[in-house]
């Protein structure tokens, strides 16, 4: 009986320390979107043709655990700015949107991953307005830290 209590005490103590260890580690770092490798796509000022299908290639990582990501493609015919890193490319003429391409879609990342590579097909519809567009990739980790990468694309 005495041994049983001793064992139980050790188990409880270990459990306590295990929990405490996790809680001590506070995630203060945002995840990372890496598009600085050979196959990464699209790059800043990339020209995409209507009717063609491309593949978005990016590498996500986080110090603890990745959560989810979303893709947002919207027109930039008015040449608006973002405080996230959208580059400055050669501007197409400013114009009114008639049938602009718009994508807003969210994706979950399987749990337990610190690193995740995406290869997502991207088909440019044949009937959308040509011109300047922004692709915003928003990556969120399990804690809620978000990193946004903005890419200027030109649709022809």
């Amino acid at each position: 009986m005495k041994n049983y209590f001793r064992l139980a005490l050790i188990a409880v103590t270990l459990g306590f320390y295990a929990c405490e260890g996790n809680e001590d580690e506070i995630d203060t770092e945002a995840p990372i979107i890496n598009m600085a490798f050979d196959e990464a796509f699209p790059q800043q000022c990339e020209v995409l043709q209507r009717g063609e299908t491309y593949t978005i290639e990016a590498l996500f990582s986080d110090n603890f655990e990745l959560g989810s990501y979303s893709l947002d493609i919207h027109h930039n015919f008015d040449h608006h700015t973002h405080s996230t890193d959208v580059a400055e490319c050669e501007r197409q003429p400013t114009k009114e949107a008639v049938n602009p391409w718009l994508i807003i879609e969210g994706h979950e990342i399987p749990s337990g991953q610190k690193s995740h590579r995406i290869s997502l097909p991207l088909s440019v519809p044949t009937n959308v307005d040509t011109g300047d567009y922004h692709l915003m990739i928003k990556l969120t980790d399990k804690e809620g830290w978000q990193t946004i990468k903005g890419i200027w694309m030109i649709i022809r």
Partner: protein, 119 residues
């Protein structure tokens, strides 16, 4: 002591020109970081005391899609309604944190009719 949210890189109007035109698209941008986690981000455009206006008008939008995030970039485009009236307004950007703290920033915005906008 609980940490309050922060609001930075505010842009009111395209290129942060502080101008809105009635019936046209309005560009709003801000970087927000929560003390704990974001509950809501909202924007109110309202008339200022001491200014005179031809009619009463104000608008408010609450964005709850940022709920649960530690930080985000708020980038929104919305139309200034046709019933808005010209004048100098104050824009109040309010971030509510899930820890109960709030932070607000107030900035001026000039609203024009398209016809009277000095190009």
């Amino acid at each position: 002591m609980l940490k309050a949210p922060t609001i930075e890189n505010i842009e009111l109007g395209s290129g942060d020109n502080g101008i809105a035109i009635i019936g046209q698209d309005f560009h709003f941008n801000a970087d927000v970081e929560a003390g704990d986690k974001i509950e809501t981000v909202d924007i109110t455009i309202r008339q200022k005391s001491g200014e005179t206006y031809p009619a009463d008008w104000s608008m408010s939008i609450i964005w709850d899609q940022y709920k649960g995030l530690k930080n985000t970039n708020v980038h929104q485009h919305f139309d200034i309604p046709e019933d808005a009236v010209e004048g100098i307004y104050e824009v109040v950007i309010l971030v509510k944190d899930q820890n109960g703290e709030t932070t607000e920033v107030t900035r001026d915005l000039t609203i024009y009719n398209e016809a009277s906008f000095p190009n």
